[in-house]
Structure formats: C-alpha cells, structure tokens
C-alpha cells in the first residue's frame, strides 16, 4: 500500500471517506474544465431517518415547528417503510457553502452520482440563475431560519402553542398566494432582522392604527369618499397585505406572518425553475461522469450502476401508463439540455431553421446563457425543439367541461410544433397555475370588511378547499371577508362571506 489508490481500481462498492474525497476531487477538476462556477460546498453524511427529517422540513437544516411538518414526516415514513418509495438520493441546500446530503446506505457509485448532481450541478445553478441571484441570499438563509425558529419558539412560550399554531395554519393556507411574483425582496440577515424586528413591530402597529383613526373628521373630507378604494391598487400578495394592514394583529403575529412569507418567497425560485434546475443537475452528472469514464478513470461496473440509476431518474412514462403522473421534470429537463448541446454541436437543417442563432455555436456559452437567464416557462418557450417534441411524442389536449369529449388540439407535427411549445410553456407558468386572487377593497368607513376578488380565466372556478382558506383569511383580518368572482366580461358575483371566529383578546 502507501500508493494512492488508482481511480479505476476502486473495486469495492462500499464507500469510504477517502474514496468520497477522491471522487469529489476528480469530479471537481472536470467540472472546472467545463467552466462550471459553483459556491464552495460541504458534503454531509446522514442516515435514512435523518433524510426523512430533512424531507419534513423542506431540506432545511433548521426550521420552525408545526404539526403539518409532523404530518409530512409521518407520510414519508409510512411510504418509505411500506417500500412504496425510495428516498431521494440527495437533498441540496441553496446556501453558501452549499450543503449536499449523502445517505449512508448508498453505494460509492451513487455517492459519486450525488456529488456530481448536487454539489456541482444544482450548486452551479443556484449560483448562476438570475432568479436565485435576485431573490435569494445564499449566505444568509440559514441564519434567517435560526432567527425564525427561535422567534416562533419564543412566541409559543409567551402566547401558547395553540395561538401560534392557529396563526401559522392561517399563514400556510395563504402561502401559495403570499409571494411577490415580480419585485425583489431585500436580502435577509440574522443580525439585521433581530435589530430591525422590534423597531418594525412598533412602527407597523402605529401605521395600521392610523388607518382606523377615530378622530372626528372635518365635514369637508366627508364628501368625495365614494370612489376611493383601499388598497388603491389591488394587491395579489395576500400575506404581505395582511402583514402590513390587518388591523387587529399583535406585533408578534405580524412578525410570524412575515416569517412565513419570507420563507415562502425564498423557495419561490425553486418552484419556478424545477425543470431547468433538475435537468441541469442531471445533464451535468451525466456529462461529468461520462467524461471521467472517457478518461479511463471509472470502471465499467461503476458506469453500469450509474447508468441504471440515471435512466430510472430520467424515465418518462407515456400518458397511458399506470406509472404516469404528469411530465417528469427530470426527464424533460435533462433532454432539453442534452438537445440544446446537440443543436450547438451537430445541428441539422431543421435546427438551423428553428434556432439560427445558436445552431453551431459554442455549447458551453449557449448553455450558460440559457441557465443564467431563464425560468421554466421561458426556457421551454425558447428552446424546446421540434425533434424533442417528436421524441417525447407530445400532444395537447383541450378539456372543456361544457363539451362531452376531450379534443386533441395539437400533436408533434409541422402544424403543431409552435402551438405545442407555447402550451407546454404555459403549463409551467406558475401565475396561471394558482388562481388569480386579489385584495380588492377594504370598507374603511363601514364595517371594515375585506373583499377578495377572483378573476376567472377560461371559466376555471375555485375548489371547495378555497372556502376553508377563506376562513383562515377572515381569522387573520379579524373582520368579515368576502370572496367575489369577476368573469372576463366584467360581471361580478359574490361567492361567499366569512366572519372571523371570536378572537381571544389579551
């Protein structure tokens, strides 16, 4: 012994710390040759149980406590124990340094796959993509989560678990409508948060109270009040509106609303770039490990094991398969990036016609540009090629509940490519996946009731659970809440009205 073990001769499939270090070194070298720009990273070895813990808290190392996370944990545990699902091989945290979890029961080949996938693939995406750059502060998120957990624990002690739980329930119910879709939020930092939190609480309370000033009004001001709505512009971020304007919330309650909103916002880019991000990571683990293999550094056995996992991950069952549950983001993403590289390296006539700018260009530059500047919706609209549509055999189905049958609108042929591409892109538009609900008005001078308006699109209504969510909104607002529906022709009708349950006063 004494010699450095040769890479290819690593026979055992059991991993050791030295072997992982060695693989990481080699993968990192190849990644740098390809020009991947990553945060520093750290690998953490964990058990299956710890992986399930991590699942329950969206992969974050610290998180506040809530019964719903317990529910998710039990769900995961049940399905895992019954063998209905394997655990994800990896969880990677968008922080600096980027943390990637390796599960102890994986083989060495799997660990290498995870390192390439998470520590280099996802990591470079977090660092390069404009949404993550703009919306998230990788260096501060863990600090903020610690602040959030401590703050909420403190509130539980002071105000009781029930009270806090009720509030978080309500915030979670509005979670999907609690993000800014267009503005950038200021970066988060632990120290600043703590410093500012008290200040903010006092200031906000003063602001809110001002809205409900009960000083006698002068006769002059009384007249033209009819047309003023509050808010002047409809507000689509329900949690933001509640945080700033709900009249009866105590300062600590406002802070918790803010915490839930901030954390939601932090994860929003992940939801917007799932296909791109997973695809990018798959593309890179595939490219990096194949490069190492071509250099003769990986054994055949290693490659077989790796390829078997890889093909499982990027498998897309057809629509009529019992395993079909929508488009597999890993499959679509991986193939999009592979195809993009092909268009750069080996374009055919069709590619030159569809993608004149990038056909034949340098693939690394093109891919980096695409990675940095798009989200799922625009990425697909820009780069989905006819060939890929043919490979996936995509087709678009129109489901109109006023008709007795479904209608096939477009398939993977010359007439259908553009329509298909536009429809698939629309499918990844988060803005149209969630219902378009806006805070429309508050009756400042009357009963303080709040009106929420649903703008319908293509006659799509609201699911039954929405009314339960409306109860939560009423709880937060503290006064009556109305839900209206406005159809495209401007017709408005009242869907429901909720009065808050009696609030316990302190």
């Amino acid at each position: 012994m004494g010699k450095k073990p040769s890479f290819a001769s690593t026979q055992s499939s059991e991993w050791t710390v030295e072997a992982i270090e060695h693989y990481d070194l080699e993968i990192g070298r190849v990644a740098r040759n390809y020009g991947l720009d990553c945060y520093r990273h750290q690998l953490e070895i964990i058990t299956a149980e710890q992986m399930m813990d991590a699942y329950a808290s969206i992969g974050m190392p610290v998180y506040y406590h809530h019964w719903s996370f317990g529910k998710h944990f039990l769900e995961t545990e049940n399905r895992y124990k019954r063998g209905q699902m394997g655990l994800a091989y990896e969880i990677v945290i968008n922080s600096d340094p980027c943390i990637a979890y390796l599960m102890e029961e994986n083989t060495l080949a799997m660990q290498a796959l995870v390192i390439a996938h998470a520590a280099y693939g996802h990591n470079s995406f977090f660092k390069g993509n404009h949404l993550f750059r703009q919306w998230t502060s990788a260096d501060a998120i863990v600090d903020y989560l610690i602040f959030a957990r401590n703050y909420i624990a403190e509130c539980e002690e002071r105000h009781g678990i029930d009270e806090v739980e009720r509030l978080i329930d309500a915030c979670h119910a509005l979670g999907n409508l609690g993000v800014d879709r267009y503005k950038r939020s200021p970066p988060l930092s632990l120290v600043k948060e703590q410093l500012r939190q008290k200040e903010r609480a006092e200031y906000l309370q003063a602001q809110v109270n001002d809205l409900w000033r009960t000083l006698p009004r002068s006769a002059l001001a009384e007249e033209p009040e009819t047309e003023h709505r509050f808010p002047a512009q409809p507000e689509e971020n329900l949690l933001y509106f509640i945080e700033k304007n709900a009249p009866l919330l105590e300062p600590w309650q406002r802070e918790i609303v803010r915490i839930v909103r901030k954390i939601n916002q932090y994860f929003y880019p992940q939801r917007q770039t799932q296909v791109m991000n997973e695809g990018w990571a798959c593309f890179w683990h595939y490219t990096l490990l194949n490069t190492l293999y071509d250099e003769g550094k990986l054994s055949d056995g290693f490659m077989f094991e790796f390829l078997q996992s890889h093909t499982n991950v990027v498998y897309q069952p057809p629509y009529n398969s019992p395993y079909y549950s929508g488009i597999n983001p890993y499959a679509l993403g991986f193939n999009l990036w592979q195809d993009l590289r092909r268009i750069c390296e080996n374009p055919d006539d069709e590619d030159r016609e569809w993608f004149p700018d990038i056909a034949g260009s340098d693939w690394r530059e093109t891919l980096n540009f695409a990675m940095a500047n798009f989200k799922d919706e625009s990425f697909i609209a820009q780069y989905l090629s006819p060939r890929l549509m043919r490979d996936f055999r995509f087709f678009a189905v129109l489901d109109d509940d006023s008709r007795s049958k479904l209608r096939i609108n477009a398939i993977h042929n010359e007439q259908g490519y553009r329509e298909l591409r536009q429809k698939l892109s629309e499918q990844y538009n988060l803005g149209s996946a969630d219902p378009n609900l806006q805070i429309w008005n508050v009756d400042l001078h009357g009963d303080r009731s709040l009106t929420l308006r649903h703008f319908t699109h293509r006659r799509r209504g609201l699911a039954e659970a929405s009314f339960a969510a409306l109860d939560h909104l009423a709880y937060l607002w503290g006064f009556t809440v109305r839900l209206e529906q406005q159809s495209p022709d401007g017709e408005v009708r009242l869907l429901g009205e909720r009065k808050p349950e009696r609030r316990r006063r302190f």
């Binding site: 710390v17 992982i20 270090e21 990481d24 070194l25 990273h41 750290q42 690998l43 953490e44 070895i45 964990i46 710890q50 813990d53 406590h65 019964w67 719903s68 996370f69 317990g70 529910k71 039990l74 049940n78 340094p97 102890e104 119910a173 999907n176 897309q316 629509y319 009529n320 398969s321 019992p322 395993y323 549950s325 488009i327 055999r393 189905v397 129109l398 489901d399 509940d401 049958k405 479904l406 209608r407 096939i408 609108n409 477009a410 398939i411 993977h412 042929n413 429809k423 629309e426 499918q427 969630d434 219902p435 293509r458 006659r459 799509r460 209504g461 609201l462 699911a463 659970a465 929405s466």
Partner: protein, 423 residues
Amino acid sequence: MTVRIVDRRQDSKNKSSINRSRFIRRFKGQIRKAVADAIARRGIRDLDNGEKIGIPSRDISEPQFRHSRSGIRENVHPGNDRFLPGDEVDRPLDGGGGQGRGQASKEGEGIDDFVFTLSRDEFLDIFFDELALPNLIKRQLAKIEEYRRVRAGYTHTGVPTNINLIRTMRGATGRRIATVGPQASRLRELQEELEKLLALRPDDDPEVKRLEREIAALRARLGTVPFIDTFDLRYNARIRIPEPSTQAVMFCLMDVSGSMDEGKKQMAKRFFMLLYLFLHRAYEHIEVVFIRHHTAAEEVDEDNFFHSRETGGTIVSSALKLMRDIIQERYMSSVWNIYGAQASDGDNWSDDSPQCRELLSAAILPAVQYFAYIEITDGEPQNLWLEYETVRDFHPDVFAMQRIAEATDIYPVFRELFKKRLV
C-alpha cells in the same frame, strides 16, 4: 483543496419528534377515538406495542386557494400513440390509469384514512390520559423495568473485550483446514511429481520449470490464507432481561348477565388492563385467569370473556367459589402473588350477597394481595354493595371498591395499591 465532509450520522435522529408530538397533540380527539377502538380490539395483556392509527384525511388536510376541475384546461402529455389533431376522445384520457390517482393525492382530498403508527409510549400516554392517572403513576407504569445482563451464547459482532478466544480459534482452525486442505494436498502431489521428474531430467527442463512455477504460485496462495480472519471472531453475547423475578396471578371476575352491555364491558376491560399494567411492572411472570358468571361461573379464555353474552339472573358467589377453588388447586404455593379484580353492575340475588361476604372474608382475602371491586352503574347501591362495604371496613388494606360511571373513576380503586407499592 479537498472538500469538507461532515459525518452527521451521530447527530440527533429525531429532529421531527417535536413536529410529530405537535401532530398528535393537534389531533388528540381523533387519535383518542382510534385508541379506544384499539383497546376494544386488544387483549388486556397486549399493552406493550404501539398502534396503527387512522385519521380521516379530510380532517388533516391543509386548505389553500386552488382551482377546481371546472372550466377549460389544456394539458400537454407525452407518449402520443394514436391521436391526430382534431380527434375527439372520451374522458378520461387513458381510461383511468395513473392520472386519476395522481390528481386525487395532489388535491389531498382522497377519502382514505391517513394512517400512521403510535409508539408504545404515545399509546400508553393516551390510555392513561383517559383514566386520569396521576403523573407519578404514569411515569412509573410506563417505565421499562430495571434490567439484568445475562449471557446468551455467541455473536459475530461486539467489542474487543468480549472476544471469546476459544470459539474464535476453533472457527479459525476450521476455516484454515477448509480453505487450505485441497490446495495443500495438490501441493504435495506437485512436489512428489517434481522430485520424480528431477531424477530423470535436468534442472532447466521446461516441464520442471512449469512445475516449479505452479508450486510457487500455490505456495503464494496458501500464504495469503490468514491465520485469523475478522470472519472468525466470536464474542460473548449478553442480553438484558427484566429484573423483577417473582410471579403473580390475576383473577378477572365479571358478571356477564344480560344487564352488562357492551359499554359496561369496555369499562371493565380498562379496569382489568390497568391492574394488569401495574402487575406487569411489578412481576416478571403473570398469569391471568378469566372467570365469568351469571347464575353459574366458568373459567374461559379472554376472547369469550369479553365477547360472549348470556342472559338470566346473577349469583355472584358462584364466581367467588370458583376463584377460591382455582386458588387452592393451582396457586397455593407461596411463590404466587394473587390479585383479584371484579366487575359487575351490582345486581345479585339478595340471598346470595351475604354468602359473598363470607367467601371473601374467610377464603379469598386472606390469600390475596389485593382485591378490587367496581360496580358499573348509575342506579342506587344494592345489597351486594352494602355487604361489600362491611368487608371493606374489616379489610381496608387489601380490599377496595368503587362505583363507576366514567373511565376516570377507575383509578381511585387502585389508589391504595399504587400507594403501597410506590412508597
């Protein structure tokens, strides 16, 4: 620059335990109901396991503002195998298949129960909660007893101090014989062959060289067989067994006449369970005898005890007589600690009640550690109760009785018993 690798496996495993207890706390109502069902199903000795609990999914859903399935929707699917633009097809697209299921779980409105497993501690916690046990008692009961370590053969894993040399060496010798044997005899053959050959031919003959090479290779292989392999190691195994070492017998006496309905039986079952739990803590080995009676008493198994139903009058003394006889027959030796628990709704033939008092005072109470009686009724006390009251006055240390309307009334029956043991 090498990467930083952190081994977190030794860190706490139960980061989610708080969230888990929050979940249980939140759905205590539903879980309690499920636990009550489970108790009705379980044997009274079966309290050391967790329980699978089902809660209706609807109760634990987390609502959000979502689209319904109405209106116009357009979806892109993969795997077109037969459609052309303009085709009209029936709903659903794939004749059921995966899509329907996927949707149901996504919306979280499936009708299936959400099923999970309560641990033993969580289960007992809820069971005790219902019985309104004082905290001290809860802790005492839930605690697993002290253990004693005893030897239990040999294992393949262990710490170096526990290595058993004799076993290890024996295994190593066996392995060496098994692996080396055939090759060693082959080596001998080759050497003999070589000697013969050397007598006939010169040293550098190709055949001689070949044999020498083969011999060298075999020697090298034999040299690699280790004297002791990790595989040979044997360790002394020790297991832990619970410390308390005495034994007890518990008599469950229950009136199964027509007036004891299912609800009363369930109440009685909790009463027996609690006594069993107590005994389980204190004694290593417990036997349970079930005696049911109406006008006549018989000894039955647990299933029949709780689930069959008789009609007719009630003669309580028949059960006490049977208990006395069984004690004399099987449990007379001093190694048995005897406990009695009787449940009834208070009905008895008036002539019979004095007999019961006689039997208890003369034959049973002198033999038992403790006898507890519960009367599950909300009516006026009848003659049996009155007779038993005099028994209690004479034997306050070993006899307890209580009239019971709810499960929380059960504990006081055992108060003396627990107090005595805990001091």
